[in-house]
Structures are given as C-alpha cells and as structure tokens.
Symmetry: C2
Subunit: 507 residues, 2 copies
C-alpha cells in the first residue's frame, strides 16, 4: 500500500541527495538526477507522473454500505412492526427463528442455553461466533479485496486471515464439551460416544483428503503430488483428541456448591487429568521445537529459511516442524507456503503439519475451558463473563511476554505457519473476548439474535466444504478485469461472501 | 481396436506384394521387404514384434463380475428370507422401499401406478429408466473404459454414449405428463403450475450455466470463453416448452369409453393442438436445416466440415445448425466438438445448439406420448404395452427409411451433434422399447424393483450435478497409470459409477 522511503545517494564527489517520500499504491513516480560539469550543481527532481489512487477508499465505501445495511435491518423491525403485510417484510422483520438441532455435524452442540430460557437448545453466541469465523474465512479466501491484511502473513505476524482457523478450533473445543454433555444427558454410553466421535472424525478426514486438498485445476488425483495434511484433517484430528479427553476425563458431575477453597478454580481442578495431558503435549511441542536437532539447521530455528536470516539457512523452512513433516510426508505436503514468495523458499512446508497439530489441540482445549465455564457456572452469567475476561487477560499477557510485543523479536514469535505457542495464547485471548462479548450481547442481554452469521454457523462443515467446492464458480466469483484498483476485487470478495451467507438462511 | 488391412504394393518391376492382415490393439507389427538384385527375388516378411493384448478381455471379466453380483442379489433374498438377523443382511434382502415423493425435482412424477396398487405413488419403471440413463451417463463420462463404443461418435453414427441424453429427454416428457396431471388433481391452478414450471426452468438454466458449463480447470468464469448453451440449459428449455404444451393443451378429461371410431387413436386425437405445434416445429427444423442458405456452404449441408467431404467445406461444420449458433453465440459456445479430432475442424460447434433444441422438444414430445398412453389406458396394461410397441415399430421404421439403414448414406443420417430427425426417431424407438420393457417387468409383473437404478433415478438432477461437480475427485476418479490396456480404465469407470449408484441408496 504505502512505501515510505528514506534514501541517501552519494555520487562520488558530484553531490549527494537525501530524500524522504511516501510512495502510494498505483502511483507512478520519477526521480530525475541532473548532473552538471561543475560540482554542487547536480540537482535532483521528484515528480509524480501518475497520482496514486486512494487504496482505502473502496474499503471505506464498503464499510459504510455494510453499516447502512446493518442499520436498515436494525431499524426495519421497529418501522414495520405493525405493518407486516407482504411476505418480504415478514421475512425481514417478523420471522421467527427455527431452531435446527443439527447434532449430526461434528461441531454441533446441543448445549443448554444458560440465559435460563428453556426453548432454545443451542448456545446462540457459539453458533454466531462459528458463523462469523466462517464468514471471515470465506471473505479472506476470495482474497479480501486484495488488501494485505486480509491475506495470510508471509511468516511471523498476524493478519485477519490468520485469525480464522484458531477461532474455529476454539469453537470445536467449546462445542465438544457442550455436545458431549448433551449426549451424556440423553443417556448415550461411552461406547456409543466413541463410535460417534470416530465416525465424525473419519468423515472429516475423508472430506478433507478427497475434496479439499486439491481441485480439478490440479487434474486427477495422483500419488506424485497428493497432499496428506490439510485443514479438515487437522480439525478432524483435533476434534478426535478433544473428544477423547472429554469422553474419558470430562464427564464430571458438578459438586454441590458449598464453600470450599477450591471453588474459585473448580472448573480447572475438576479436570486435572485433561490438564496434565495438555501440559505434557505442550511440553512435547516445546521440546521438539527448541531441542530437537535438525541436520544443517540451528536447533530451535523458527524462521522461514530461504533468503530470510541473510540466507544462512535456506533449507530450514519451519525448523523442526518442517523437518518432521518432510520426514513423514516427503513430497506429499503443501508446496506453496505463504513464505515462498517473500523468502524465496524452496522446501515444501505445510501450515497444517504435525507439530502444529499439537498446538491446535491446546487451542481447542482453551475452547473446552470456555465450554466448561459455561456448564460449571450455568445461570451465573456474571461469573461466566468474569472468568472469560480473566482467561483473556491471562492469555493476552502470556502472548505479550512470549512475543515481547514485537513481531520477530520475542521468545516465540506469533506465527500461523508454525501455530507457535504465542499464536495460540494470542488467539485464545481473542477467542475468549469475542465469545464472551457475543455471549453477553446475544445470550445474556438478547440485544442481537446473531443474524446473519448464525445460519452458516449452524451448518459449518457444509458451508466450508460447499464454499471450497463451489466458491470459485460464477456467480460467487469471476475473472476480474480491473485489478489495478481494489474496487472490483473488494466487491467480488464481499459479493461472494454475502451470497454464501444468504444461501444458508432458513427457508 | 481392430484394423483390417488389405494392401497391394507395386515396386516398379521389382515385384509387388499383396497382403491382408488384422492389426489388433497394443500389438507391434513389422513388415520387412527385402530387395535383391534379381527380379522376382524380392521378398516380404510379416512379423509380430509384440503380441496384441485382448482388448475385450477386461470387458468380458467386468460383465461376468457384474452378472455374478446381480445374481447374488437375486439369490440372496431367497437364501436369507428367514434369517434376517444382521443389519447388513436386512439391508440386502428385507429392506422395504421408501417412497420418496420428490415432486420438487423437475423431472419428478407423481404418477398413478397403473398396476392398480394404491400405495406406490411413483411409476417405478420411469424412475428406473431415468436411473439407468444416469448410470450409463456417469459410466461413459468416465470414458467407458476407453472403448470407442462407450464414447461419442465423431459425427454421424450411434454409440452407447449417444443414447443417454435423448433417453433423458424422453423421460422428461413422460414425467411432465404424469407430474402435471398429479398436480392438477391436487387442485393447482394454471397460474400456480406456470409459476412452478418457470421456477424449475430458471433453476435448471442457472445450474447449467453456472456450475456445469465449465470447471475450475478453466479458471474463473470469463466472458471471453463462457459457453452459453449446455446440457441442463437444453433440458430446462425442453422441459419448459413441454410443460407449457401440457399446461395449456394437455389437461383433457378422458372421454367415457363408449365405442367411437376415434377410440383407437384417442390418445393422439385428444391432444391435436399439441400435435399441430410439434409438426410445425419439426417443419421449421426441416426447412432451416435443408433450405436455409449458409454463406460458403452447400444448402442443406449436414457434414462435419474440416477435412470431411474431401475438405471441400472446411468451415461448414454442422451446416445450418452450426451457422445459426455461431451467429447467435459467437465464440460463446462449445469449442471441442466430437468431430474436432477426426475431421480437423476449426469452427466451434455446440452439440446443445438452437436447432437441435427443436428436435429435443420433439423427442420429449414422444416421451409425453408415452405418458399419455399410460394415463389414457390406465389399468389396461396390455393396451399400454401394445401401444408402446406400435410406436416403437413406427419410429424404428421411420429411422430405417430416413437413414436407409446406413451410417452416412441416408436422407438424414443419425447424428447426435445435430440431433437429426433420424436420431430422434431412432432414439424414440429405443425409448419406447426400454420403457415398455421396464414397465412390463417392474410395474406390471413386479419381477424387479428397479434396484439399484431407481435410487439415482429419483434424485436425477442432484445426481447429475453432483457427478459433474465431484465426479473427478478421488475416490471416484484418479490419475491412471496403466493406459496401455483397458483394465485400469474400465475398473475406474465402473468403480466411479458404482460409487455414485450406491451414494443414493436410501439410508
């Protein structure tokens, strides 16, 4: 977008120039250096041949438009409350929500709504959060209008695109707790639960492997290039581990609420075997990442390799994580990592690799914690929100310490490719805040019903797979003609996202 | 497969050779000609360097295997009739059919079952026929094991692949009659019918245009190459016209069955306005095809152009049909017609073009005739079957006359690209025979329940779109390694087809 340059050029004895200028997107700039015979007469002229276009104007217009539409939906019910004549207006303002108990999707939850109403059987804020993540995912998959912050960070760092998957993992964790509790209440045995969990995992793995790991663009599936890891594979595996944890060590009855010094932390203490396992897993991640020797690379290397780090470790992309994956999968992994262009890396690196999956489980466990809080303090919304806040603060501070509040300079930088520990704590911070906020607005206060996000949120796997398979067909997407500005691209991204949102409105 | 050669070579005065040999697939052959000084001593030796493989062996094995599986399914119920213990066997032998009234699919029919049972609400033979067509379509889409007769004819001629679409159109016609009658019985007004018909047509057109006319292989949709006609577009338009015909001129009450000289043909006479329109349409097709002057081409040209007809008319591919389409759609039509490779054509030609759609309507009208027969002679199965036979014979004779029983030498050759009149009559012949046969076996005698074809047949559009979108992903398809024989290809074609068949079994 912007390129701030500070240059100092020295031409022998003929003079030197120093200039500071901001070069903006789409502008054409020239610098004329005129050299004369006499010393000191050399001059330097800056011209702007073509004015840059305002890169952020499309974003502003889109934001205003979306705000206007949102406002319309807020105001419309008040205006038309007593004038529900036509079918359209009925749809807009008077439609009663249909509760869909799609417990058959792996991330469904038949949770108790703690707002003490009896009718709703789903935690609306969780569905809304899930739908919101999906919406952001679809939007960034369309390129997010071509803005860099809507695309993945090349290596370290955090962009909007990097937020989505951990949110989703967090939500899986929360859903697992609520769904398993609901199933347990319905009297399902541990064996039945195990069968359900395994079946869902297998479906997720197969869906990911067969339909999402490649597209017809790559031709028919061939062993020579097939990718084994993948997003749904990681989600499925994370779901599997979390579900096992919850099945074997999670079905605790809440103790009677008498005073006990452990009460304030009972939502943690009750599940100590789970915590033990998670701490062991995280220790494993830390040990493998920082202590495992990788041939030809410094131990504990976290960089992108390629021309990064002055080109000292070109084949070390991802350090231990990359090494383990390349050892396990050979060439059958992702070949176009986000670092490839900027760092000129040559090694394949899979952002959904094995080491990262450990931290994905930890992330999901944070989501489970949210679910446990909701169950444990059911009916005591103030308690729930306080606990969410405490967790958010704790995780936020951890992230700040781990990263020293810098992108590359901390102990463990925030990195989506590695799913580094700081990335997990940072995303845990966001997740607790967001879920807490939505819980307050949607389930506690009832100010918002979660529309339009709640609909895709209730059919998440279908929406995800559907988007992956159909999202690049017309009318969701088309070959763009005006790529020199963000207008068409942003419109396409928003249009495709909006269509997908609207597709899942209940009819 | 086979290449029979009769050669006569004359080498001046040195001798001449004459040989007749059959060259088979995969064989390597050499012909050695040894020339000596003296006349008459020149010799010619034939050798087979590599034995040809038996191209038809895979087909034979597959046929035996399928026959074995079919036999298993026939025998199993008898063996296990009183031993339905496990769930699997229940599924195989004791499952009761679930009747699905999916009147929402455009080709659904809520027809009366004329076997005088009251429970079944669908004509099982029609669903089975539809499912059978779909199955053949999926099989030939996978390349039909690489056999030429499972792939489309380059221009004139009829292969298995050419059978599918007219069958489908025929079934649409029959379904329209049965479905509209069922809706009329449920008391829907003409306006409601029109709305339903229009909606279904629009959905078909959009599905075809957006999802089936290209694949992600082609990249994002671009105006520069988008194809406007297409299979679903033609099916949709045909459905629309047939439904209009039936809505406005088809809702006749059957007269009381007293004797009248018109009785034997009342199923035709009652619908005379429809017949008038169809005859006018067919006249239009004949006039446009044979009388319309096409610049640079002989009037009434039916050839493929290119190097066909001794290369006299290279740009005349498809004669009037091609000309009209190119005039209407410009470049926005099919660019890889089946004639392209054999005839080296350069012009685009769309097998789902405008002129062909007229004959597609005529084909569908033949299907409507089948539906009318079923309604008109309800309960009189002998009558129905006789009439089917009469129509089949009539259409068969017409086709024989039009083609003079040759591929290229008749008045109008059988041609799937043009949907020529002889193609329509020939396919009408097949359709009446097949539907009649299935009607007899399934609905009259009850010897067969239509499985496994009936399940995809009840969800045809879903199956078709699903196959088009997902059919070339694993595990339906993969990159083949052994293309020098038919084994792997045939296995893949059968495997993909079987998976699709099984996907639609009711659970």
């Amino acid at each position: 977008m912007f390129l701030g340059l500070k240059l100092e050029m020295v031409f022998g004895q003929m003079g030197h120039f120093r200039w500071t200028q901001t070069y903006e997107e789409g502008g054409h700039y020239s610098v004329w250096i005129q050299m004369s015979e006499g010393p000191g007469e050399t001059s330097c002229i800056h011209t702007v041949d073509k004015q840059p276009h305002s890169a952020y104007l499309p974003l502003l217009v889109a934001a205003l438009l979306l705000a206007f539409i949102a406002a319309l939906f807020v105001v419309a019910p008040y205006v038309y409350r007593r004038r529900c004549t036509s079918k359209f207006i009925k749809t807009v303002c008077c439609q009663s929500i249909q509760y869909s108990l799609d417990n058959d999707t792996p991330d469904a939850c038949g949770a108790e709504n703690s707002a003490a109403k009896s009718k709703p059987t789903r935690l609306r804020s969780l569905d809304t959060f899930r739908g919101f993540s999906l919406t952001v995912m679809v939007f960034v998959n369309y390129g997010g209008g071509g803005y860099w912050f809507f695309q993945h960070a090349p290596w370290n760092g955090l962009t909007v695109a990097d937020l989505v998957m951990p949110w989703f993992v967090f939500i899986i964790g929360t859903s697992v707790v609520l769904a398993l509790r609901s199933m347990q209440k319905r009297g399902l045995s541990q064996m039945q639960l195990l069968r359900k969990i395994t079946w869902r995992t297998v479906v997720l793995l197969l869906l990911g492997f067969c339909f999402l790991n490649y597209s017809p663009r790559d031709g028919l599936l061939s062993w020579s290039w097939l990718r084994i890891p993948g997003v749904l594979q990681r989600l499925g595996f994370t779901y599997f581990v979390l579900s096992l944890l919850q099945t074997f060590w999670g079905q605790k009855e809440m103790p009677v609420k008498t005073y006990h010094w452990l009460n304030p932390v009972q939502d943690v203490v009750l599940y100590w075997p789970q915590w033990l396992i998670i701490i062991l897993l995280e220790t494993l991640w830390l040990c493998l990442t920082f202590l495992m020797p990788v041939p030809g690379c410094p131990t504990g290397y976290l960089g992108a390799g390629g021309i990064g780090d002055n080109g000292l470790y070109p084949n070390c992309t991802g350090g231990a994580a990359g090494y383990i994956d390349r050892w396990m999968f050979g060439d059958n992994m992702y070949r176009h990592p986000t670092c490839k262009i900027m760092y000129h890396t040559t090694e394949p690196f899979d952002p959904e690799g094995i080491l990262g999956t450990i931290n994905s489980i930890v992330m999901g466990f944070l989501g489970m914690q949210a679910g446990k809080i909701i169950i444990c303090y059911k009916g005591a919304n103030f308690h729930i929100l306080c606990r969410f806040l405490v967790w958010a603060i704790f995780l936020g501070i951890s992230a700040a310490i781990l990263t020293k509040c810098t992108r590359d300079g901390g102990f463990i930088p925030v990195n989506k490719n590695l799913w580094s520990l700081s990335y997990v704590t940072c995303m845990g911070f966001f997740s607790f805040l967001l879920l807490g906020g939505m819980y307050f607005i949607i389930d506690v206060k009832g100010w918002w019903r979660g529309r339009p996000f709640i609909y895709p949120g209730m059919n998440s796997i279908l929406v995800y797979v559907g988007h992956s398979l159909l999202g690049f067909y017309f009318p969701f997407s088309w070959e763009m003609r005006f790529l020199d500005s963000h207008w068409e691209w942003l419109f396409q991204s928003l249009w495709g996202t909006a269509l997908f949102l609207l597709l899942w409105r209940p009819r």
